[in-house]
C-alpha cells in the first residue's frame, strides 16, 4: 500500500500554546483510519493543516505519488488536488436544495467561466443521483437542505464530499448527535467509501470507532501517542493513563 | 551720525553740552531751518538740537514731529494746541501755558522725510527715557524700520537698561543692526554668525535683507559681488524675455503676433503667395511669415534657434546688493544654518500638530473601537453621537453664560446624554441584530440619517458656536515656528485622560474584567455567570458616552454642525481598522499612524489637505493588505474567525 499523505515533523503553536508538536502521520491509499484523542489533542488542528486552513510553523505535508508539498497551496487548490473535508458542525448550504448542494460539489472544472458557459454537463443528473442514492437522500433532492434533519445534513455533507470524488476524505466527528440507526448507516457509508479512497475519521465515540474496524491513531498534546488496532491501543498503558488518569 | 554719537556720549556722561540751560536760543540759531526744514539739510539742525542734551529736547522733537510747534511773529517757537481762533501755547523751556490769538502764530508742518529724521534723532532719547513703555515703543519703532543711525544709540542704551526683557530685546536688535550696518567687516560678520542660531522671522529677514540679489543680463559678467551665474536654458523662454526687457534682443513673436501680422498682409486672398485656406497649418503660417519677413514687411521671425543663439551670447547673473564678499559669504553660511534650524523647528511643530490630530482621532475613535471590539458591532451612528455631544455643549452654553463653568457642566452632561442614547439604541436595535454585523451596520446607518436630519430640524443648518473659555483661547508659543493652541493641548490632555481611564476600567475594575471575558469568549463568560446582555449594554453606553465627550472637545475648536459627525466617521473607522479591533493600544497606534501620516503628507504637499486625506486613505487600504487585522491583532470573537 503506497503512501498518499505524509505528515512529518509538523509543529504549530498559537500564542505560545503548542497545538501540534512534532506530529508525523502517514495515510495510505484506500485506507480507513480513525484518529482519536482527548480534547485539545490536536485532532482538528491536524485537519486544518492538511486542508490549508492553518500553516504550520515547521514540518512537511507531502501529497500523492508526485510528492507535492501541500504547504504551498491554498484551500481551494488542496481541495481540487483531491482532499475533501467534513466539518464538525454540519455545514451545508441551507438556503439551497439538496440537488444544488451536491451539484456544486461534483468534480468538474471550477473556474467562474466554466460554470457560466458550460452549464449542462450531460451526466450531471446521473452523477447527482448516484451520490444521493449512496446517502439515501434521493427523495429529498428538491428540498431546501435547511429543512433536513441533523443526521440527514451530516449525510448530505458526506455526500458532497463523495461527489467531489476526493482521494482522501477527512471526516470530523461524523456521528455527533446521531441516533443509533443513523450511526450505523454512517458507518456503512464511510466503510464503503474507504474501499476506493483513503478516509480519515476523527471521532470521540469509541463504539463508533470499533464499528469502523480499522487502524487507530491516538493523539495526545499534539503528537502521536500510539497507533495500531483499537484493541492494541486500548491496552497501551500511556493511552489508559491519558484517558483515565486525568 | 557722528554728531549723534557725540551727543549720546555726552548724555551718557551727564555733561551738559552747552552752557545754556534753555533750548530757545539754540532754536533761534537755526530758526530758518526749523521753520522751513528740508530733508537734505535739516540733519545738522536736528543734531545741534539733540547735542544740547537738554531734557526739553525730547518734548520739542516729539511735538515738532507731530506738527504741534508754532512760531510767533517774532520768531519764538512754542508748543501750541489750537482751539478755534485761540491757541494754548507752552513755552519750550519753562512749560508755562498761556493763551494767545492764533493769527499771531504760524504752525510748523515738517514733511514726511523730515519727520522721519526727527524720529530717528528722537529714538536716542526715547531709548533712555525713564518711562518703560516709551522705551519699548522706541525699540519697537527701530525693529519696524531699522536704520544705520540707530545702531549707536541702541548699543549705548543697552548697559543702562534696567528691564531684563527689554535689555535682551535691545541686545538682539543691536545684533540685527550690526549685521547690516556695523562699520567694520569683523563686527558685521560676528553679528551675522550669531544670527545663525536664531530662528526668529526677524533674524531671517535680516539675513535675507543682506543677501538680496538683483538678477541681470549682459554681454559679459559685470564687476561686483556676483552671487551666481545662471543657465539661461533652464527656462529659455523666461530668459529670453529678460533679454528683451534689457533691450538686448528683439521680442519674440507670439502666435497672436504672427496671426496679426499675417492678417495685415493679405493681398488678393493670399499671404506672401500662400492661399488663405492653408493657414490652418502652423507650418504654412510660419513659411508665410518668413516670406513676409524676407520681403521686409514684418520683423524677422525669432525661431527657437535664433533665441538660443542670442541666449548663449549673454551672461545671466545674480549679483548681491551688498558689495562686501566676506559679509555675503558669512550671511550665506548663517542663513543655511538658520534654515536647518528652522527645518528642525518646523519638524517639531509638525510633530505637535500631528500629535493633536492623533488625539482628536483617538477621542473620536476609541468609543467606536470599544463597541466594535467587544460586540463586533459597527456603529455607523457614532459620528452622530459626536455631534450630539457637541450640541449638548452648545445648549449648555445657552443656559450657562460662564464658559469655564459651562464646559465643566457640558462634559459630564454630554457623556450622560450620549450614554443614554447609546443604551437606548443598544436595547431597541442592536440587541436584535446580534450575529448579523452587516445588518447592524445598515440599521445604525438608518439611525445616523435620522439623527442628522433631526439635528438639522432642531438646530438649523448653520454652524453653531461652542465657545471655549478665555484661558483656552491663546496659543503656546515656543518660537516663531513652534506654536500650538491651548485648545489642542487640552484635547491632547483629554485624550490622555481617557486613555488612562479606559485602561483603568478595562484592567482594574470588575466591569473591565467582565468586558474582557465577553470579548474573548462570550459563551464561556455567560456560563460563568456574567450577563453578556448587561455587559454589551454598558459597553455600548460607554463607547457612546466617550463619543459625546469627543464631540464637546471637537466642537470647541471646530464649529458645531449637523454634519460634523460624518466628517469624522470614516477617519474613526480607519483608525479602528488600522489599529486593530478591540484593543485600546491598537486604537492609540492607529490614531497616531493616521494623524502623523496625514500631517506628513500635508507637509509634502502643504497646499492641499484634500490630497493628504486622499493619499492617507489609499495608504490605509494598502496597509490593510499587509496587516488585515490591524497593528495590534486580537484573537477571539471580534477577530472574525
Amino acid at each position: 500500500m503506497s503512501t498518499l499523505l505524509e505528515v512529518s515533523g509538523v509543529s504549530v503553536s498559537f500564542d505560545g500554546f503548542k497545538a501540534i508538536n512534532n506530529l508525523s502521520i502517514q495515510i495510505g491509499e484506500a485506507e480507513l483510519r480513525a484518529i482519536i484523542g482527548p480534547n485539545g489533542a490536536g485532532k482538528t488542528t491536524f485537519m486544518d493543516i492538511v486542508t490549508g486552513k492553518t500553516k504550520p510553523d515547521e514540518g512537511y505535508v507531502i501529497w500523492g505519488e508526485k510528492s507535492v508539498s501541500l504547504l504551498d497551496m491554498n484551500e481551494s487548490q488542496i481541495a481540487q488536488a483531491g482532499i475533501g473535508r467534513k466539518f464538525q458542525k454540519p455545514t451545508v448550504f441551507e438556503e439551497q436544495t439538496v440537488r444544488e448542494n451536491i451539484t456544486m460539489a461534483l468534480k468538474n472544472p471550477r473556474s467562474p467561466l466554466d460554470l457560466l458557459l458550460n452549464r449542462a454537463a450531460a451526466d450531471t443528473e446521473e452523477r447527482v443521483r448516484a451520490v444521493s442514492d449512496d446517502i439515501g437522500l434521493t427523495d429529498a433532492l428538491d428540498q431546501l437542505s435547511g429543512a433536513l434533519s441533523h443526521g440527514q445534513k451530516q449525510w448530505l455533507e458526506i455526500g458532497m464530499l463523495l461527489a467531489q470524488d476526493p482521494r482522501l476524505l477527512l471526516v470530523d466527528e461524523p456521528a455527533a448527535g446521531m441516533s443509533a440507526t443513523e450511526r450505523e448507516q454512517t458507518t456503512d457509508i464511510l466503510v464503503r467509501a474507504a474501499k476506493t479512497r483513503a478516509v480519515v475519521v476523527v471521532e470521540h465515540d469509541m463504539e463508533f470507532v470499533r464499528r469502523l474496524n480499522c487502524k487507530v491513531t491516538v493523539l495526545h498534546q499534539g503528537s502521536v501517542l500510539a497507533e495500531g488496532s483499537l484493541d492494541h491501543v486500548t491496552k497501551n498503558q500511556d493511552v489508559i493513563d491519558v484517558y483515565l488518569g486525568r | 551720525m557722528r554728531s549723534a554719537l557725540f551727543a549720546l556720549i555726552l548724555m551718557v556722561c551727564g555733561v551738559p553740552a552747552v552752557t545754556a540751560q534753555t533750548l530757545q536760543p539754540i532754536l533761534q540759531t537755526y530758526a530758518g531751518e526749523i521753520a522751513k526744514p528740508s530733508r537734505k539739510s535739516v540733519g545738522e539742525t536736528i543734531d545741534a538740537i539733540a547735542a544740547s542734551g537738554l531734557p526739553q529736547v525730547t518734548v520739542f522733537l516729539e511735538q515738532w514731529s507731530e506738527k504741534n510747534i508754532w512760531q510767533r511773529n517774532d520768531g519764538i517757537f512754542f508748543v501750541g494746541t489750537a482751539a478755534g481762533d485761540s491757541l494754548t501755547i507752552t513755552d519750550v523751556d519753562t512749560e508755562a501755558k498761556t493763551t494767545a490769538a492764533k493769527s499771531d502764530f504760524k504752525q510748523l508742518k515738517p514733511n514726511g522725510g523730515v519727520r522721519r529724521l526727527i524720529g530717528t534723532a528722537l529714538v536716542q532719547f526715547q531709548l533712555m527715557d525713564p518711562d518703560l513703555s516709551r522705551r519699548e515703543t522706541a525699540v519697537a519703532s527701530i525693529a519696524r524700520r531699522p536704520e544705520a543711525a540707530q545702531l549707536a544709540p541702541l548699543l549705548a542704551s543697552i548697559d543702562g537698561e534696567v528691564d531684563a526683557n527689554l535689555k535682551a530685546r535691545k541686545t538682539q536688535l543691536a545684533n540685527f543692526l550690526s549685521a547690516s550696518f556695523a562699520k567694520n567687516t569683523e563686527d558685521r560678520i560676528a553679528a551675522i554668525d550669531s544670527l545663525s542660531t536664531d530662528t526668529s522671522v526677524e533674524a531671517r529677514a535680516v539675513l535675507n535683507q543682506i543677501l538680496t540679489t538683483t538678477t541681470g543680463v549682459a554681454l559679459a559678467a559685470p564687476e561686483g559681488n556676483i552671487a551666481a551665474t545662471l543657465d539661461p536654458m533652464l527656462d529659455a523662454e523666461q530668459s529670453y524675455t529678460a533679454l528683451v526687457d534689457a533691450n538686448l534682443a528683439a521680442p519674440k513673436q507670439t502666435g497672436g503676433d504672427i496671426k496679426k501680422a499675417l492678417e495685415a498682409n493679405i493681398v488678393n486672398g493670399r499671404i506672401a503667395g500662400f492661399p488663405l485656406g492653408q493657414m490652418d497649418d502652423p507650418m504654412v503660417r510660419q513659411a508665410a511669415y518668413t516670406a513676409l519677413a524676407d520681403a521686409g514687411l514684418v520683423p524677422v521671425l525669432i525661431t527657437q534657434e535664433v533665441r538660443d543663439a542670442e541666449l548663449s551670447k549673454h551672461v545671466f547673473y545674480k549679483v548681491y546688493d551688498e558689495p562686501n564678499v566676506e559679509v555675503t559669504i558669512a550671511a550665506e553660511t548663517a542663513r543655511k544654518s538658520a534654515d536647518n534650524r528652522v527645518a528642525t523647528a518646523q519638524f517639531a511643530d509638525l510633530t505637535l500638530d500631528a500629535l493633536s490630530l492623533a488625539s482628536i482621532f483617538f477621542l473620536a475613535a476609541i468609543g467606536l473601537a470599544i463597541t466594535f471590539g467587544v460586540m463586533g458591532v459597527i456603529n455607523m451612528a457614532h459620528g452622530e453621537f459626536i455631534m450630539m455631544g457637541a450640541y449638548t455643549g452648545y445648549v449648555v452654553q445657552l443656559f450657562i453664560p460662564n464658559y469655564t463653568v459651562s464646559i465643566f457642566v457640558a462634559l459630564p452632561l454630554a457623556f450622560a446624554v450620549t450614554f443614554i442614547a447609546g443604551v437606548v439604541m443598544e436595547r431597541l436595535v442592536i440587541r436584535r441584530l446580534y450575529h448579523r454585523p452587516l445588518e447592524t451596520l445598515l440599521a445604525t446607518f438608518g439611525i445616523s440619517i435620522a439623527l442628522q436630519q433631526l439635528a438639522k430640524n432642531v438646530f438649523g443648518t448653520q454652524a453653531r458656536p461652542l465657545t471655549s473659555p478665555d484661558w483656552l483661547a491663546g496659543a503656546w508659543v515656543v518660537n516663531d515656528i513652534i506654536q500650538i493652541s491651548y485648545i489642542r493641548i487640552a484635547i491632547f490632555i483629554l485624550a490622555l485622560l481617557f486613555l488612562g481611564l479606559i485602561i483603568y476600567i478595562l484592567k482594574r475594575t470588575r466591569l473591565g474584567l467582565e468586558v474582557r471575558a465577553v470579548t474573548q469568549n462570550p459563551g464561556m463568560a455567560s456560563s460563568m455567570g456574567i450577563n453578556p446582555d448587561r455587559i454589551n449594554m454598558l459597553t455600548f453606553g460607554l463607547g457612546s458616552g466617550i463619543a459625546g465627550i469627543a464631540g464637546v472637545a471637537i466642537g470647541l475648536y471646530a464649529k458645531v454642525t449637523s454634519e460634523m459627525g460624518s466628517d469624522y466617521i470614516v477617519q474613526s473607522f480607519m483608525t479602528v481598522v488600522v489599529g486593530g479591533v478591540g484593543n485600546v493600544w491598537g486604537t492609540l497606534a492607529g490614531a497616531a499612524m493616521i494623524g502623523f501620516g496625514q500631517k506628513g503628507i500635508e507637509w509634502l504637499n502643504p497646499s492641499n489637505t484634500l490630497a493628504a486625506q486622499t493619499y492617507m486613505i489609499l495608504f490605509v487600504i494598502l496597509f490593510i493588505q499587509f496587516r488585515p487585522k490591524g497593528i495590534v491583532a486580537l484573537k477571539g470573537r471580534a477577530a472574525g474567525d
Binding site: 481541495a79 456544486m104 467562474p112 | 484634500l610 487600504i621
Partner: protein, 391 residues
C-alpha cells in the same frame, strides 16, 4: 437553453413584460409623442430612475447574492458618468469653439482650437491645459470603453487587493467606503483635471444632435435606459441561474466551506465585484446625460449607502426586489423633498416633509432591517405562499 432558463425563472419574463408595458405607456404619454401627461422633466426623472434600478440590481448581486456589502458601487456609477461626461463636454465645447472661430480671417490651427476648448472647459479652475486623463476625450468610442473599463479596472485592482488578504464583512464595507471617500476627495481637488467641485456640466446637450428637441432626446435616453435595464436584468438573472449562482450564494452563506469544496472563492468574488462595477458604470453613463451635471458630491460615500438602503428596502437576494426598492425610495424621495407632499399640521407643530422625510427614511430603514429583512420583496413570498396554501 435560453427557453429553459426563462422557464426556470418566470420572474424574468414578468419583469421584461412589465418594463415593456411601462416603456410603451411612458412613450405614448410623453411630450415627444404630443401628449402633455408626462412632462419632459418628469420623463427625465423616470429615465434616471431606470438607471438607478440598474445600479441597484448590480448592488443586489454583489450584496444580496454574494454577501459583499460594497459601499463603493455608486462610485463606479459616478465614474461611468464622468467618463461619458468628458466626451460630451469636449465634443460640445469643440463644436462651439469651431463655430466661433469660423469667422476668423485665418482658419484656426489645431493648436488654437485645442487651447480655446481647454480654456472654455478648464477656465473655472484657472487653467487651459488639457490634463492627461482627457487624452481620449475626443473619441466617443474610447470614452464609451472607459465607461466600462475604468470602473472595471478599479474594481479589479481594489477587489484583488481586498479579497486576496481575506478582508471580509464589515471590514470590507468600511474599506470600500474609504475607497469611495478617497475618490470623491480626489475629484474635489481643482488640480486633478476634472474641474474640481464644479464637476462636468451641460451634459444634456448631445453633440451632433442639437437639432433634436430635449423632449425627444429625453425619450431616447429613456428608451436606452429601459433597454439597458432589461438587458442587465436578463444578464444577471442568466448569470445567477444554475451552478454559478449556487456557488455565489454559497459564498455568501459560508465562504470557508466553499473554499473546501475546491472553489477559488476570491476569483468568484472578484468576478462579481468587477462585473457589477462595470454595469454600475454603464448605468452612470446613461444617468448623467439625463441629469445634465455631475460633480464629486454625487460620489460621496452617502450615495453608496443609499444604494444599499434601496436594495434592503426592496428586498435583498432577488433582482426585482432591488428594482422595487430603487423605484419606490427614489421616487418617494423626490416627491417628499420636492415639496409636493402635503405638510401635516399637528396644531402645535407643522411637519414639513422636506425636513422630515430623511428622518422617516432613516427610521423606516431601521424598521425594515429589524422586522422585514426581506424588504418589500418579502410580500411576494407571503402572497405566493398563501396562494399555495389555498391550492
Amino acid at each position: 437553453m435560453e427557453r429553459t432558463f426563462i422557464a426556470k425563472n418566470p420572474s424574468v419574463l414578468w419583469f421584461l413584460l412589465g418594463l415593456s408595458v411601462f416603456t410603451l405607456l411612458v412613450s405614448i404619454f410623453s411630450e415627444a409623442a404630443g401628449s402633455a401627461v408626462i412632462s419632459t422633466s418628469f420623463l427625465k426623472t423616470l429615465g434616471k430612475t431606470l438607471c438607478l434600478c440598474l445600479v441597484a440590481i448590480a448592488m443586489d448581486v454583489v450584496w444580496g447574492y454574494c454577501g459583499i456589502l460594497s459601499l463603493g458601487h455608486f462610485a463606479f456609477f459616478g465614474i461611468g458618468g464622468y467618463a461619458i461626461g468628458m466626451w460630451l463636454m469636449y465634443a460640445r465645447t469643440k463644436d462651439i469653439v469651431v463655430g466661433s472661430l469660423e469667422n476668423n480671417i485665418l482658419p484656426p490651427t489645431p493648436d488654437e482650437v485645442t487651447t480655446a476648448i481647454g480654456s472654455q472647459i478648464f477656465g473655472v479652475v484657472g487653467s487651459s491645459d488639457f490634463p492627461l486623463i482627457w487624452a481620449f476625450s475626443h473619441s466617443l468610442t474610447l470614452q464609451l470603453l472607459a465607461v466600462v473599463l475604468v470602473p472595471g479596472l478599479l474594481a479589479l485592482v481594489f477587489g484583488w487587493l481586498a479579497f486576496r488578504s481575506r478582508v471580509t464583512g464589515v471590514y470590507l464595507s468600511i474599506l470600500t467606503q474609504a475607497m469611495t471617500l478617497a475618490l470623491s476627495l480626489y475629484l474635489f481637488q481643482n488640480d486633478t483635471g476634472l474641474r474640481g467641485n464644479n464637476g462636468l456640466s451641460g451634459l444634456q446637450n448631445i453633440p451632433g444632435l442639437e437639432a433634436v428637441s430635449q423632449a425627444t432626446l429625453s425619450l431616447w435616453f429613456f428608451w436606452a435606459s429601459a433597454f439597458a435595464l432589461g438587458l442587465g436584468y436578463v444578464f444577471f438573472a442568466w448569470m445567477l441561474a444554475g451552478k454559478f449562482g449556487s456557488v455565489i450564494r454559497a459564498i455568501r452563506d459560508n465562504e470557508t466551506r466553499v473554499r473546501f469544496l475546491g472553489y477559488h472563492v476570491e476569483t468568484y468574488k472578484l468576478f462579481i465585484f468587477t462585473t457589477t462595477a462595470m454595469i454600475a458604470g454603464i448605468a452612470g453613463a446613461l444617468y448623467y446625460p439625463q441629469a445634465g451635471i455631475i460633480n464629486p458630491a454625487e460620489i460621496a460615500p452617502i450615495a453608496s449607502i443609499y444604494l444599499a438602503v434601496w436594495v434592503a428596502i426592496g428586498g435583498r437576494g432577488r433582482l426585482y426586489g432591488a428594482v422595487i426598492g430603487a423605484v419606490v425610495v427614489s421616487l418617494m424621495s423626490s416627491w417628499f423633498t420636492g415639496g409636493s407632499a402635503p405638510d401635516i399640521n399637528l396644531g402645535i407643530y407643522i411637519v414639513k416633509w422636506t425636513d422630515w422625510w430623511l428622518v422617516l427614511l432613516g427610521l423606516t430603514f431601521v424598521a425594515v432591517t429589524l422586522f422585514f429583512p426581506k424588504g418589500i420583496g418579502g410580500l411576494f413570498d407571503l402572497i405566493s405562499s398563501r396562494q399555495e396554501k389555498q391550492q
